[in-house]
């Protein structure tokens, strides 16, 4: 017996041609990436505005990156990058989607391809640090938090009181 009505399933991954047909171009190098515009996307999602000179240095020492250019405006609307040792480990940072372009699969598209690119380099250990409210974004992509009790830790610098 066939049941009527819609069944809600997660959207299928966007293929390269899907992206192209919707006016999104995939980029895998920083060439043509306007860092001021990238900074604006960072700010739009709540990151602090960072020094573009420093962003440039960071991108020069990034193992892999992926961004989506919106053809119509030629602006970046999604971005992610990974750093590491090039053979064993990679950490993914700065995963962002412009708020105006969220919820249509761009974040997932960027992540899937970045992971693919890292795997193609032979990197088996891919990690990231996720804010609590986006754990649900990373889990369906295959990420597991605290596997085997491993904990992500960050060095906290004490604020010094000026006299």
């Amino acid at each position: 017996m066939l049941l009527g009505g819609t069944i809600s399933t997660p959207p299928a991954s966007l293929r390269d041609e899907d992206l192209k047909s919707r006016g999104f171009l995939l980029r895998r190098t920083a060439e043509g990436l306007n860092l001021d515009q990238l900074n604006s996307v960072f700010v739009a999602v709540g990151f602090p505005r960072r020094d573009t000179a420093k962003i440039e240095v960071a991108l020069e020492h990034t193992d892999a990156l992926l961004w989506v250019e919106y053809e119509k405006t030629q602006r970046p609307v999604a971005f992610a990058r990974a750093t590491g040792d090039g053979v064993f480990n990679a950490i993914i940072w700065d995963v962002v989607v412009d708020p105006s372009f969220q919820s249509c699969g761009l974040g997932k598209a960027v992540m899937e391809r970045l992971i693919e690119d890292l795997q193609a380099k032979g990197i088996c250990n891919i990690a990231l640090y996720s804010e609590p409210r986006v754990l649900g974004f990373y889990r369906p992509l295959g990420f597991v938090s605290d596997p085997d009790g491993i904990r992500g830790m960050v060095f906290i610098r004490k604020q010094r009181n000026k006299k």
């Binding site: 962003i55 991108l59 804010e131 491993i150």
Partner: protein, 259 residues
Amino acid sequence: MLLIPTSSSSSSSSSSSSLLPQSFFNSNSYSSNHHSLFLPNLRYPILHGSRKLKNLRLRANFWESIRSGFVKDNNTTQLVEPPSTIEEDTEPLVPVEFTLVERTLQDGLIEEIIFSSGGEIDVYDLQGLCDKVGWPRRPLSKLAAALKNSYMVATLHSVMKSDSDSSEGDNGQKKKLIGMARATSDHAFNATIWDVLVDPEYQGQGLGKALVEKLVRALLQRDIANISLFADSQVVDFYQNLGFEADPEGIKGMFWYPK
């Protein structure tokens, strides 16, 4: 079995972790006539370009720089990374290489433990050390590449010399790799520490703590604001004691399809 070479023991089946976070320098653990701690070795103080940083210390909210996420934000307020607060760094710069410990052993030999962030490491020695702590074998060529691609590689070497040997350098002295820690980085915002290990024969003396502490200091002095790592459950306390916080503000470490 988890095959991720993390900050400490990577194999959950090995009984000994590479780091035993025991007490600091227990002076009763070896017989010695005298020992000096954390002696900056003035004989060859090769300082990095860190001098050029002029003791900058950033106060940027750390987790802002590591957020992996996005949010629908309709308000127009904007966060600006606070300008770097230049303040007097009361901590001395970490020299590239210096003597951490010097002790006279029972048989008259002098042992020096030397810390170095210069990255000079023999990949065969490293593989031997990884074997000693029970880590699964990794191809030498990949080990070498990982070291080369690391932003900073910190090592501990033990140098033995006889009492009468007053010459400098290691002419004929026994030099042994006994510890290592490395960090990858984008040279601007983030650094992640991997593969922290200390020879089991030298554990329990606070050397692991010194190794990580000096590495962190060296990274901070290079203006890297965010220093992170992934710790096996049994060494979380060890890193906490060094100033690391697990899941800061609820941020979770995640791995892609871990084995």
